[in-house]
Symmetry: C2
Subunit: 129 residues, 2 copies
Amino acid sequence: MNIGEVSKRADISSKMVRRYEEQGIIPKASRSDAGYRQYSENDVHILKFVKRSRELGFSMKDIKQLVGLWRNKGRSSSQVKNIATKHIDELEKKLKETQEMLKTLNHLVKNCQGDNRPDCPILEELSCH
Amino acid sequence: MNIGEVSKRADISSKMVRRYEEQGIIPKASRSDAGYRQYSENDVHILKFVKRSRELGFSMKDIKQLVGLWRNKGRSSSQVKNIATKHIDELEKKLKETQEMLKTLNHLVKNCQGDNRPDCPILEELSCH
DNA sequence: CATAAACCTTCCCCTCGTGGCAACCTCAAG
DNA sequence: CTTGAGGTTGCCACGAGGGGAAGGTTTATG
């Protein structure tokens, strides 16, 4: 299987498949006589794992570890849980920050007429704080 | 006022003050004989405006427009409101995405023992989907 | 058989907001 | 006069990609 095929199957751009290989997240692909990367079903499986992990917001650093643990049958589930828990903490922090921003922004927008006049409480707030 | 002073007053690194100037977000500072950038109270004010806008998550592109509108007395508040509303929409989208991730992650972590055994529903989910 | 389209390779630059470092210049105090 | 603090420019890095050039390969078609 060439990179285009594996890319379609895992729904990851060829570009990123090459990059993941560089970063050691997926094993180095063997090459055809012409130097084309060759992939197996197993590679598709790994790439889907990576994709799903990205969808859950894990960083590439985390994913590298997760793939390692996934392939290591002697892992302990606590290692995986630690990575996930740390990630949850970070996401919750971001969530709170975003909620704070939204709270302020919604309040500002509600008080802005949005007409042709220049008076604008949004600019007021941004300038005075 | 030199860049270090204005940087302290607005709580923005000197680096970023120079960068904002490059990007045309703040006016080009005049220079002393030695080539040092010179700032006024007004510049501090603009930089604080930028800082506050960043804290509300606006992009630099948005901020450039906001600063322009702020300084333009002939603006209409609808222009400002449009920028803010678009930003709110984007933040809400991100918020939902983060909440979705957290929902899944919390569910997974709850079902993971986190012990010395290799069995791990987190890896299961990541690999099978 | 030749040619064109589709595919692969590596390499470099762009994003966005920021930090760090190097090399060099200037200013104020001891 | 020297020293240290602070200024100047310029380049490189992050993370997670995207875009595209320049060139080699494969495959289908006239």
